[in-house]
């Protein structure tokens, strides 16, 4: 390892725990605007941790991917999301399927599960960041949980994006990131998927006069 600076591993662990904290915060927030802010923070933490990993492993490519994260997840997507919810008038989101304390408890169980799951994987990994694999998995699970418990379409998309953050973090911590081509491809997919979902929002609102997904139940064939 070119720069085995002793301060890098603790700070990476710190960043990982911040990431987990943000995930829990997202789980407990009701307002969509707050969620977007948290999402942007998550992207920032991700950017920092990627830079750190890049610095410690000396891989130039990871700086590019960190830059991509900064542009896409910290600036572009939150901005677009803000615009979107203003256009849709969906800043206020308080509808949950499960109340927040229960969700948090389930989230705790999931984190424990994720750590248990990550143990055999981290034993195989050779990176300095291997301890954070469990946290990465936990972030994915928590984002998924958020998608399940929310009723509004916008929050689902934020959950989806947060899940991608977790995947990205898992990739950097387990194998020093994916090859550049794949990363670019994923970033593009994300952007395209996001646009398609944005179009869907307008369609859904036009059809049901609301973004509440429970209206979609009417689509089911009897």
């Amino acid at each position: 390892m070119p720069h085995s600076n002793h301060w890098i591993v603790p700070s990476l662990n710190l960043l990982a725990s911040i990431l987990l904290l943000i995930s829990f915060a997202m789980l407990s927030r009701r307002r969509t605007q707050r969620l977007i802010t948290l999402f942007a923070w998550q992207g920032l933490v991700l950017f920092t941790s990627t830079c750190l990993v890049a610095y410690s492993s000396g891989q130039k490519e990871m700086y590019y991917s960190a830059g991509l994260t900064l542009m896409l997840k910290v600036i572009a997507l939150p901005w677009i999301l803000h615009r979107l919810i203003q256009r849709l008038g969906a800043q206020w989101d308080s509808e949950l399927l499960v109340n927040i304390p229960t969700t948090m408890l389930v989230g705790l169980v999931l984190v424990i599960f994720a750590f248990g799951l990550a143990q055999p994987i981290s034993r195989m990994a050779t990176t300095i960041t291997r301890n954070t694999i469990g946290i990465a998995l936990a972030v994915i699970f928590l984002a998924f949980l958020m998608m399940i418990t929310r009723r509004k379409a916008v929050t689902q998309v934020i959950g989806f994006l947060a899940m991608e953050n977790g995947l990205f973090f898992a990739a950097t911590s387990a194998t020093y990131g994916m090859p550049m081509v794949i990363e670019l491809g994923i970033a593009l997919d994300l952007l395209v998927g996001f646009f398609i979902l944005g179009i869907f929002f307008f369609q859904i609102r036009e059809q049901f006069d609301s973004l509440d997904l429970s209206h979609l139940e009417a689509l089911k064939e009897e």
């Binding site: 399927l97 599960f113 248990g116 799951l117 055999p120 699970f141 998924f144 949980l145 998608m147 399940i148 418990t149 929310r150 009723r151 689902q156 997904l213 429970s214 979609l216 139940e217 009417a218 689509l219 089911k220």
Partner: protein, 658 residues
């Protein structure tokens, strides 16, 4: 050979260039397809003559490690001959038949039609399970599109769906059967399957699956539900192809798997096929007796004939399992000959109904009658087909049914006492079926063509055009030729039995004489019989002319107490079927409305349904419905629930990895 098949595909493709030009597609492409059909028949004959030297080839097509294999041997040759000859007649007829503005555009119709022809040829040429299934599915799909070519009518869509469903279920069984046949070696060429070691149990499983799969395609009785729906729904040339040609691919497949790929036979298989065949035969004949829609009647008659063919196959398996190859060859020859005959006469009759349909726009027998006066050409040709299918000498139907009966008479040679008791019963059922079939055909021909027209519009029905006449005449000629000189067809069948059983029946050394096994027991000569009939008729004619000459007296005949006759006084199709309805009442679901004696405008209505619908098909349908409802509970319509599904799946998979 492959070039010719490609030629068919090519013809279909150029039809797409001008899909709406009826003239181009009908007058140009269909006759060309007929010429290719003749070429296919020629090559089939060459393969038959070549005897034991099959030609095999590996095509540069298919998946990387699964190339397409093709092979042309006597069995394929025989069925190619059948398809080529009958297909040529149907194609010529179709050239004159299709009118503009009927359902699908002519170009598309031509595409489906030629793909259908080509895929049937590929089915019999295929030499590995993979290619076979590809061709088989291609055949099912192209024929589905032909069936629903008039897709604006809901009942046609329904029939098409039923057909597709049964075809897929059958194909599924075949897939499983091939899966068993490869015997754990994972090689799917037929060559590898021939050598695959199978225990008797697995061989039986493979055989039963094949019987289910091919039975569904052929319309053996518990699996026949689609046939009387789909055949009437299709345009007449397509009905003719499906009934005359496509059902034969199922016969081919059955022979290929039973006698070629599986090298052991058990007499129990033979009894099973025999029983199913006989049951189908009698069932089809009974239902043909009560049906009043002319195409539906013919469809049931197809079930009957397929039943007869499978009876022959069953007998052949039985004899072969009992080490009596000579008799097995006799039964198999009868089955093959009947396949060939059925391709001719059933196609002929379906085409004739097409003419009637075009001329009168009526399908119900109750609205027809007296067409022999307005459509003499069609009536004559249909008469030939009717006599052939009724099994009257000197036409072809007689020869095969007679041979089948002869084969039954050899069953005392079988060393199982149990079978010896049962088989005479089978012979009796066979005889009954054949008699019923004759009865049905009297009804078919009599109601449509004889008597007085039941509706005034029938007076100006028009006869077939010249292309249609050529097609009809070609098929009728086939019926007569095989009937008069059955030796030619029997020698072709002999090449097949030589390949499959290693035994050929020497029917006689003379071309015009047929004697199964020994001339002492029975023999038949179509030519002599024809000559005899012509002599008797001629002499009678001359004698009557001579005796009665100059002594004609034209006068009003005795009117039997009826001063006038109307078409309402004629026997109706329902009336014709009444005895059968009465005798075999248990087989039907009947709804009858009888008029009361005081009714001034009496109305009689009867509705006959297949009892198997209620007893077998509907319970299965309900069970499937319940099952899908139970699965449908999963589809709650809530996005959160769906996400939960994927989340739980993810968790389960991750736990599984641990």
């Amino acid at each position: 050979m492959l070039l010719l098949v490609l030629g068919w595909l090519f013809l279909g493709a150029i039809g797409l260039l001008r899909p709406h030009s009826l003239r181009f597609v009908a007058r140009g492409l269909f006759p060309a397809g007929a010429v290719i059909g003749l070429g296919v028949a020629l090559l089939g004959t060459v393969a038959l003559l070549a005897g034991h030297a099959p030609q095999a080839m590996v095509l540069p097509l298919g998946l990387p490690s699964l190339p397409f294999h093709v092979r042309l041997d006597a069995l394929s040759g025989f069925f190619l001959l059948l398809m080529g000859l009958a297909g040529a007649g149907i194609s010529i007829f179709a050239a004159g038949y299709f009118r503009s503005g009927e359902g699908t555009a002519p170009g598309l119709l031509g595409l489906h039609y030629h793909i259908f022809l080509a895929s049937m040829a590929l089915v019999v040429l295929a030499d590995d399970a993979y290619f076979f299934m590809v061709a088989w599915e291609l055949m099912a799909l192209s024929s589905y599109f032909l069936v629903v070519s008039q897709h604006r009518l809901p009942e046609i869509r329904r029939a098409g769906f039923l057909y597709l469903l049964m075809a897929h279920l059958g194909a599924l069984c075949l897939l499983l059967s091939f899966g068993v046949l490869q015997g754990g070696r994972w090689q799917f060429t037929f060559d590898a399957m021939r050598g695959a070691p199978l225990t008797p149990l697995w061989a039986t499983v493979a055989f039963l699956l094949a019987l289910l799969g091919f039975g569904a395609k052929a319309g053996l009785v518990p699996l026949h539900g689609w046939l009387p729906e789909a055949h009437p729904a299709a345009p007449s040339p397509v009905s003719a192809m499906m009934s005359g040609l496509m059902l034969k691919t199922a016969v081919y497949g059955m022979l290929r798997i039973t006698f070629d790929l599986l090298h052991v036979q058990f007499w129990q298989w033979g009894v099973l096929v025999l029983a199913l065949g006989l049951f189908s035969a009698i069932y089809g004949a009974i239902f043909a007796g009560v049906k009043t829609d002319m195409k539906r009647l013919l469809a049931y008659s197809s079930i009957e004939n397929i039943g007869l063919i499978f009876t022959g196959i069953g007998l052949a398996i039985l004899f072969d399992a009992c080490h009596l190859p000579l008799f097995a060859a006799l039964a198999l020859s009868a089955a093959l000959l009947h396949s060939l005959n059925h391709a001719f006469f059933k196609s002929l009759l379906f085409l004739a109904t097409g003419n009637v349909l075009h001329a009168t726009k009526r399908r119900s027998l109750g609205a027809l009658g007296g067409l022999a006066h307005t459509m003499p050409w069609v009536a004559t040709m249909a008469l030939v087909g009717t006599l052939a299918i009724a099994g009257l000498p000197p036409l072809n139907g007689f020869v095969s049914e007679w041979l089948l009966l002869q084969a039954f008479l050899f069953t005392p040679q079988i060393p199982h006492a149990f079978i010896n008791m049962l088989v005479p019963l089978g012979a009796a059922v066979l005889a009954l079926t054949v008699a019923l079939a004759a009865y049905v055909m009297v009804k078919f021909y009599g109601i449509i063509f004889l008597g007085q027209p039941r509706e005034p519009a029938l007076e100006d029905a028009h006869d077939a055009n010249w292309l249609e006449r050529i097609g009809l005449a070609w098929l009728a000629l086939g019926c007569i030729a095989i009937g008069v000189l059955p030796q030619i067809a029997l020698r072709a069948a002999g090449a097949v039995t030589g390949l499959l059983l290693g035994q050929t029946v020497n029917f006689s050394s003379q071309l015009w004489w047929v004697a199964p096994i020994t001339a002492k027991q029975a023999s038949y000569s179509g030519l002599l019989l024809l000559a005899g009939i012509i002599c008797v008729v001629g002499i009678t004619f001359v004698v009557v002319r001579g005796l009665a000459h100059g002594r004609f007296r034209r006068t009003v005949p005795w009117d039997c107490g009826y001063p006038w006759q109307t078409s309402r006084m004629q026997d109706t199709a329902e009336g014709f079927g009444q005895p059968i309805r009465h005798i075999f009442g248990t087989a039907f679901d009947m709804e009858r409305e009888l008029p009361s004696p005081s009714d001034s405008a009496p109305h009689y209505r009867i509705h006959v349904e297949d009892r198997l619908w209620r007893m077998a098909y509907l319970p299965i349908e309900r069970a499937v419905q319940r099952l899908s409802d139970a699965i449908g509970v999963l589809q709650g319509g809530r996005l959160a629930i769906y996400l939960l599904y994927s989340f739980l799946t993810l968790l389960a998979l991750l736990v599984g990895v641990l």
